[in-house]
Symmetry: C2
Subunit: 222 residues, 2 copies
Amino acid sequence: MSDRRTAILEAAATVIARRGVRGLRVEELAVEAGVSKALIYYHFEDRTGLLRRTLTFVNNRAERYTAEQSAVDATTDPGAATGAAPTSGPLRQLEQALLLELQDLPHVRENSTAWGELRASAVFDPELRGELALASVIWVREVADQLGEVRPTAPESALVASAERLTALLEGLSARWLSGILPLTDARTRMREAIGVEVAHLAGHTADRSADGTPTSPNKLD
Amino acid sequence: MSDRRTAILEAAATVIARRGVRGLRVEELAVEAGVSKALIYYHFEDRTGLLRRTLTFVNNRAERYTAEQSAVDATTDPGAATGAAPTSGPLRQLEQALLLELQDLPHVRENSTAWGELRASAVFDPELRGELALASVIWVREVADQLGEVRPTAPESALVASAERLTALLEGLSARWLSGILPLTDARTRMREAIGVEVAHLAGHTADRSADGTPTSPNKLD
DNA sequence: GTCTATAACGGGATAGAC
DNA sequence: GTCTATCCCGTTATAGAC
């Protein structure tokens, strides 16, 4: 809504990505947003309130660019060239969605960094947990749905479990990338492999459901 | 070595686990360690230097309790009762080693929290990256070796890739657990499943090498 | 709504005695 | 090696004019 307000939130994401949550200085934020310090306190209760709002803001923005990218996907399709990956429709879409977070583009890096920072902050600041948990659940749900399109016969519980593993892995890889432990290309490769592994795993689940909906074999991996 | 010095490091891990790196106050640390602020600056260059030392300290301590636990493993073996998990020797050892980090015991939680915090800090403080990267490489190496014992014929590169995925996943799950997004039991379940999935995946790799006396069935789920 | 100026204080770092 | 006392800067947050 308000011009200035969103400008402050954009700036907050930028500054957090640059300095981290612990490094965010209200003064620097004010300069970045082109407003005065006092205005920040006028619009947001206090520093923590600002962080909370920034969390949801960053999250909304991520959904937005995910949607944009999905639109682009229809156009680009290099899946034919490489014999490596079985890039059929829904699977490719899933890969795109997850790999989107592992890119060295300014706003993606900004989002990933801010997200990681805010998640880390939530360990010690319970006030941030509400937004965080909600966003996480939604994200897992989305990934589970996409997995469901790749493996329509896999049981719901297995889809959610796979989605939780994939999203948690993505966060882990992202943290390593951003902290300079793991090169970006490696992170992307690991992520792609993991998707393949999980999809293969879900195929196994599919096989289990021989007749109706009831898994007959007591598989060890539930 | 020095009594006081290690006391400070122990206290640092405790305080970081309680307040986070951003919440670590040299004063509080001094109280926790039962020393004066000045002594901390005498033993460690400055705040960052202290953090760097704490990072390696925490890491060494983790190795230590991993070793202790491995010793205990020989005694305890409930693998026979439950038909759920294929807890053969090396596989069980691997599971133990990884699940060790997902336990609600004071010193484990302390280590995990401190490790997560320091990793998060490294995103913005390059001074911390050296220790971090080294520790990470060593850990991946260890897990890869353990995977190698479970799947002796799997190629080295596949073992390392799996190890990287598993350790990154563990960090991701740990972060979610500690930030209150994911219940501990869920995190543990996801981790166990992932190990199963990865081991099954490596079995596939094994099948690829048809010549060297390995069962040729390319079954994904063993 | 938005600014400038300033209060109020927390906390990192050092001096110097013992 | 370890302490007490203190400096002083950076940072959050508010007061009050426009």
